[in-house]
Amino acid sequence: MKSLSSFTRKLAIAGLVSVAFAGSAVGADKKYEGITLTLASQNDQFAAVLAAIAPKFTEETGATVKVDILDYGSLLTKTTTDFVGGTGGYDLVTMDIVWAGQYAENKYTVDLTEWMKRDAAELKLDDIYPTLLNALGHWGDKQVAFPFAGYANVLAYRKDLFDAAGLKAPTTMEEMVEAAYKLTDPSKNIYGFVANGQKGPAVAQDWMQYNTEMGGSILGPDGKPALNSEANIKSLTVYKDLFMKAAPPGAVNYDWGGREESFRQGIAATMQTWSVGAPGYYDPSISKIVDKVAITTAPRGAGLPKVYGIGGWGMAINAGIKDTQKEAAWAFIKWLVSPPVHKEFNMMGAGSFLRKSEMTDPDLLKKFPFLPVIAETFEHGDGEYRPRIPQYPEIQDLLGTAVNDVLVGNADPKKALDAAQEAAAKLF
């Protein structure tokens, strides 16, 4: 009895010791156990996927990631006040391409340059498109955010309508405009073109894209605003005509959601858009054009160089948080952009591509056949057509009002852009 009891005791001790060792081994893996990272995320397609994939990071490292999904305006307001007030409410922030200037100038976020050099091999930087690395977080000599969601500006069009009319996919703006007019038939509720018309960032951003493609530019060679240049006035005139003659009547009210919806519902024949929305056209639960849609590179004005608009989001670390939080936040960024996790992120429908290897990945290609178009766009990407300068929010607002004023017939292009230029000049 005594020997049995002694044996049991030894067994129990051995068991406890092994459990303790096993526990410490797990503990060693879970380096960030007990840390909670709060992430402020734009309410784009990737947001829900971020929230869904975050628990895997917890499994691997122990750190919990709480994803706070916000609309564009709230994201900018809440994160900026958090940065300015030094309240450290958010550890990680998704950063729009155009905010880099103000982030860098005000030192809101951690400069990742040294960390990126240190962890270059782990990050596999060569596999990331240089344009994305630059545009989605680089400013001056700083890297204020790390890219995680690259968007390509592409042309989505109705292949069936183009085929029926004997038209080829447009490669120039002139061809696109001509096709838009030709395919418009209000009696069949089909319109050749759709774009954002709503006052504010929606119409400003879409017009800036068309403006660049038609040879216009927001800033002059001296880096100062040149909103009322001849080229800009001409492109706004074409844009207005497209809205009047070839767009669904309600398009002047559309923001991104309304524009995408009209295309998925099959009432628009062409639409320039961010690649992030493309997976939705092939989803029968929300799209009526699953077998009719095609995606190609965005058209350019005849004779203009092959440069395509890119946009998207970087992930930034709040400079006002504790060092331990910063380390965990950097670990999360590295984990998210690592090739296997980022592939999984996109397989789950984030529509946020980043790496060259993703463009040739058989699983991703099978699911998203338009990846070569995105690859081509990223290869020749232009992240500067919306000027990434600290004055951008005000310029965007001025253009968002001026262009909308023109679209509703309240002002002519020259008068509206003259007024916007006068106000923009005061900002410099």
Binding site: G73, T401, V408
Partner: protein, 313 residues
């Protein structure tokens, strides 16, 4: 000895003060929390707002902060966008409050008689007031969109509105917003005026009826003059509220098309929370505050004068 004993037995010399003084001290102590609350929540932010408005102060450009005196105010008064926002706000306020007052008074008269039908009607018409203006804006936006809106589609189809929708046309957008405000707030005006009607002295009304006064005469000579305090209350509340209109405009038009529905508060919010231009946003808010104070003071003087004339008070 007795005297010194009594003095020694007084534990708190302060309590030796008279009853009147103690009563005064008690009242001061009781009102102190409220005074502190008002100072912290009301006066301090107001003072800070006035102070900020004298600076060029942008949260995104902290290094460029400097004193500009009345520079922000001068800029605003010479700025066409601010002037447009002021005109829009005045049109909106006058249009909405006038209709709300007339319609609210008519509804109050219709529901004056205290019976079950009227009580049910009153409960039903109060539903819009319970919905937050932001949601009301979203509901009307969804209803009036030309492509997908349940009402907007048919209005456009039958040629009753611009094919692009009521919110897309500069000449109909502000009128539509006024309509939305009327829909939401007329019941509140009706409720305030109904309370005023129910408080009217019944004997005077009965006497006038016996004396053969017509309904219109009773309304003009007795009801309206006696109702002046209620009318003043409804008018002041709604004017102040309408002058600060923001939520429903923000979600329906965002101030557009162009600047056709831009209002002072929308302009201030944009300057403050979108561009973080605190100095300019404070100046707009202060201008709005001055306008509201002048309007409210004007109403009070006007109604007091009318009340004195009608009722000798």
């Amino acid at each position: 000895m007795t005297l010194s004993l009594t003095s020694a037995l007084r534990p708190f010399p302060a309590l030796s003060v008279s009853y009147v003084e103690r009563r005064r001290l008690f009242f001061i102590l009781m009102t102190l929390p409220a005074v502190i609350y008002v100072l912290v929540i009301g006066v301090w932010p107001l003072a800070q707002g006035i102070w900020f408005s004298l600076y060029e102060y942008n949260l995104l450009k902290p290094a460029r902060t400097h004193f500009v005196g009345l520079g922000n105010y001068i800029d605003l008064l010479s700025d066409t966008v601010t002037r447009g926002a002021f005109v829009n706000t005045v049109i909106f306020t006058v249009g909405a409050v006038t209709v709300e007052l007339l319609l609210g008074f008519a509804i109050a008269l219709a529901l004056w008689r205290d019976d079950r039908f009227n009580r049910i009607c009153l409960a039903l018409i109060l539903i819009p007031v319970t919905i937050t203006p932001l949601v009301v804006g979203l509901i009307f936006r969804a209803l009036l969109l030309a492509d997908y809106g349940l009402v907007g589609y048919y209005l456009a189809e039958f040629g009753l509105s611009d094919p692009r929708g009521l919110f897309a046309n500069p000449s109909s957008a502000l009128a539509t917003l006024i309509f939305v405000d009327i829909w939401e707030w007329t019941p509140l005006v009706a409720l305030i005026l109904l309370a005023g009607l129910k408080a009217l002295p019944g004997d005077i009304l009965e006497a006038s009826e016996v004396d053969g006064a017509t309904a219109l005469q009773r309304l003009r000579i007795i009801v309206i003059p006696l109702m002046l305090p209620s009318i003043l209350l409804a008018l002041t509340l709604r004017t102040i509220d309408a002058f600060r209109i923001f939520d429903s405009v923000y979600v329906t038009t965002g101030g557009g098309p162009g600047n056709a529905t831009n209002t002072l508060m929308l302009h201030a919010v944009k300057q403050g929370l979108e561009f973080f231009n605190i100095g300019r946003a404070s100046a707009i808010s202060n201008l709005t505050l001055i306008c509201i104070a002048v309007i409210a003071a004007g109403f009070i003087l006007l109604i007091r004068k009318a009340d004195r004339k009608a009722n000798g008070r």
